[in-house]
Amino acid sequence: MGTFHDDKGELHGMTVVVETNGPRVYIGRCDTQTPEGIVLLDADHHDEGQDGKSNDDYLSFAAKYGVFKKHDHIVVPAAEITTVRRLGELA
């Protein structure tokens, strides 16, 4: 038993990795996907090389343990998005 929101798309409630056409990658819980972009909740982001870590290093840690959130709510514009996939698929 739990809460369901079937009208918000198949990724609603799933923790996703959003890769972009720039150095930044986002991880957060997908709320909605629209033609304008994707809305993430409890999200974090990482830029290539930030804190001495590559995006691959960042994703490797996140795939095992998740992320410490930096944003309660963030919108990633569709024009920047290259891929959206479930974090669980990386584990």
Partner: protein
């Protein structure tokens, strides 16, 4: 603001029915974790249908395993806020998420099943992850 108690009551009861000790205050968590002998599992419960709806059945299946934690407790994220915060202090090196589960051995966290490893999976799949950890760390 905590959830409506009526909303979460069935999800809490599901845990109690499988013999898990409910921890509703920081003091209760403190006492529960103070016993560092052997292994202790804490399940962070949640209303989330995307994950908790399979996490609870997964835990129930896993607790039927030959090897399992000596103690199993649960807090409800978004309902028992202070209790949840106190549990998370005990494994602060891992990012918080709910639902999730953390296994302690001799007081140290040795296994963490975060929310994203539960999302979209069914109960037996979640149980497999837990049983694998139980077989590794529990008597």
């Amino acid at each position: 603001m905590p959830y409506d108690p009526a909303l979460v009551a069935p999800m809490r009861q599901e845990m109690v029915d499988m013999g898990v000790q409910e921890l509703t205050s920081a003091d209760e968590v403190e006492s529960f974790l103070a016993n560092a002998d052997g292994t202790t599992l804490v399940f962070i419960n949640s209303v989330c249908g995307c994950a908790a709806g399979s996490a609870r059945p997964g835990l129930r299946i896993a607790l039927g395993n030959d090897h399992k934690p000596d103690r199993v407790g649960t807090v409800f994220a978004g309902q028992h806020v202070e209790a949840t915060a106190r549990v998370r202090e005990a494994f602060a090196q891992f990012p918080p998420s709910s639902p999730s589960a953390v296994l302690f051995k001799a007081g140290e966290p040795v296994f963490y099943l975060p929310r994203h490893m539960i999302e979209g999976r069914d109960g037996p799949s979640v149980a497999f992850e837990l049983v694998t950890a139980f077989d590794q760390f529990c008597n």
